[in-house]
């Protein structure tokens, strides 16, 4: 029983991070209708950044998360500016397949450059809290997972606030609802896309930093997250931040319980089966409103 509860808690905590990554993907997918296959590669870049800052400069990952977030803002912004925007401008309508292929090409480049530079070793770090646990009511909870979960939750709430209360946030939401109408209201949609990509990058940078203390760093680590993130985004409902976060937690629980009681590899495929089922039966997801 204790094992069950602990696995559930561990699943919730990991799921919170999945949800957080999915939120950043959902933002880009929901607003700009861009399927960004390079998302995982950007995530990997941020993880390596945090890793090297920790190894070379001995800066705590939670502190360097700010650097990673700032770096990925610009990375995301210029990624959109130089690669995706030319295609969107040329084809007027968002051309999903061209963009999918473009971003998978970029993913191949980024991942394999990282492989050349850093090799295929699985790197882990040692921080003051790696492997430390808190004991709450007889349950052991891993410290870095708990910290990552709480910080993710706070940042998601901040993102929600940003989207609701600021002018730019409102512009982002308006563009996501109806691009044409937003244009007619004087919103520069291409600028909104770039900002959205940047903000998604910020979230991703934070998520990467939160993961480094208790996960391995590897050039292909993003692949583990990117497909799962798409599953979570669709499961939660396109463009719904709360939905993505909840779906992340659900996937985290399924994975954690499945790994303990069934077989972790089969659970992986179960998640994809749920994904296909969800797309077919209820494409709007848990909390999504309407499908385009």
């Amino acid at each position: 029983m204790i094992g069950f509860i602990e696995a559930t808690i561990s699943g919730i905590l990991m799921g919170g991070l999945y949800g957080f990554i999915a939120v950043s993907l959902s933002l880009i997918f929901g607003v700009a209708k861009i399927v960004n296959f390079a998302h995982g590669a950007l995530f990997m870049v941020a993880m390596f950044l945090v890793y090297w800052i920790l190894v070379l400069l001995k800066v705590d990952p939670y502190l360097s998360s700010l650097i990673a977030a700032g770096f990925l803002f610009f990375f995301g912004y210029f990624f959109q500016r130089f690669f995706i925007e030319p295609i969107l401008r040329r084809e007027k309508e968002t051309a999903p397949l061209t963009v999918i292929l473009l971003t998978s090409g970029l993913m191949m480049i980024i991942e394999n450059v990282a492989l050349l530079l850093f090799g295929a070793d699985y790197r882990t770090v040692k921080t003051g809290y790696t492997g430390k646990v808190w004991e709450i009511a007889g349950l052991f909870i891993a410290q870095p997972r708990m910290i990552g979960f709480v910080l993710s939750l706070i940042l998601i709430l901040l993102l929600g606030l940003y989207l609701r209360k600021t002018n730019l946030g409102r512009a982002i939401r308006a563009t996501s609802q109806d691009r044409e109408a937003a244009r007619l209201m004087g919103i520069d949609d291409y600028r909104v896309y770039k900002i959205t990509f940047g903000v998604g990058g910020i979230m991703l940078g934070f998520a990467a930093a939160f993961l480094v203390p208790f996960y391995f760093v590897h050039p292909a680590v993003g692949e583990l997250f990117v497909l799962k993130s798409f599953v979570i985004v669709v499961l939660g409902g396109l463009g719904s931040i709360t939905g993505a976060f909840l779906a992340g937690i659900i996937v985290g629980i399924i994975e954690s319980l499945g790994a303990q009681f069934i077989n972790s590899a089969l659970v992986e495929s179960l998640i994809f089966i749920i994904f296909i089922g969800c797309l077919v039966v209820k494409p709007t997801g848990l909390l999504g409103k309407q499908r385009e």
Partner: protein, 325 residues
Amino acid sequence: MSWNRTLFALAVLAAVLFPLVVRDPYFLHAAITVLLFAFLASSWNIIGGLAGQHSFGHSVFLGIGAYVSTILFIYWNVPPFLGMIIGGIIAAIASIGIGYPCFKLRGPYFALSTLAFTEIFRIIATTTEQVGPVDLKGAAGILISFRPGNSFVNFQFAEKAYYYYIILAMLILILFIHNWIEKSRWGLYLAAIRDNEDAARSIGINARRFKILALMISAFFGAMAGTFYAQFFLYIEPILFSSALSIEILLIAIVGGAGTLMGPFLGSLILTPISELTRTYLGGTYAGVQLIIYGGILVAVMMFAPQGIIPPLAKRYRMLFERRA
């Protein structure tokens, strides 16, 4: 038109004579890989090009073909040529199960759902060690032992030229089928679905049925390529089901020009030698270089020639031709 035919006949003649002129087994091996990937990309082209459904799941069919014929061959001594047909039929049946849910979806959702299917198959193939009497060996893959001599029954040849002519014949066959579909009434339905599915449905085309039919044909030939792959490399592994391989197939077709007859061949002619060369000269630690080059080509093509290489070439060629006439 007759000019096109002459050109095609000349290309076939050149391809037939190639092994007689080039004796070096390394080049012959490379040429076979080029043709194999041209065939694979051509089989994808039927669903991806003619019907415009950019499937990210083609490796599923390749994997089914490779595993079915290999298992039949190793355990029941079924000649791989027969196993090829059986694998093709099983893949075509499986494609109904895949197409039925996936074709409800469009654009990015379709791509993601087919990608999810490859992942499911890959995970199952990786984790399954044993099914009844059959030892699948999970992630380790299955080695096919070589039986000496040149035998059509065993689909194993000491001389590579046999493989070359078999895959060449397969490629010519699929090009003829592609051409036939494109010109048939059914091909026009597919083109209508590709260009505007809603409009096609509104005039009474049963879009889902025709898409599934196209996927079945595509799957059948994809599985045939799988059998050829297994008998040529004599080793199969769950990576055959991977999404990376799906993307590679799709990349070849799209770089050449999705939907065009010779696009996949041209794409393979450009891309496969790159991967062969980087594998030979840079292998090991620099294995990633091939994918960096692939990624670069993909990015460049998407940004500057999203229709692939064939359409702009065809335009120029026509202009040249008209001026002469």
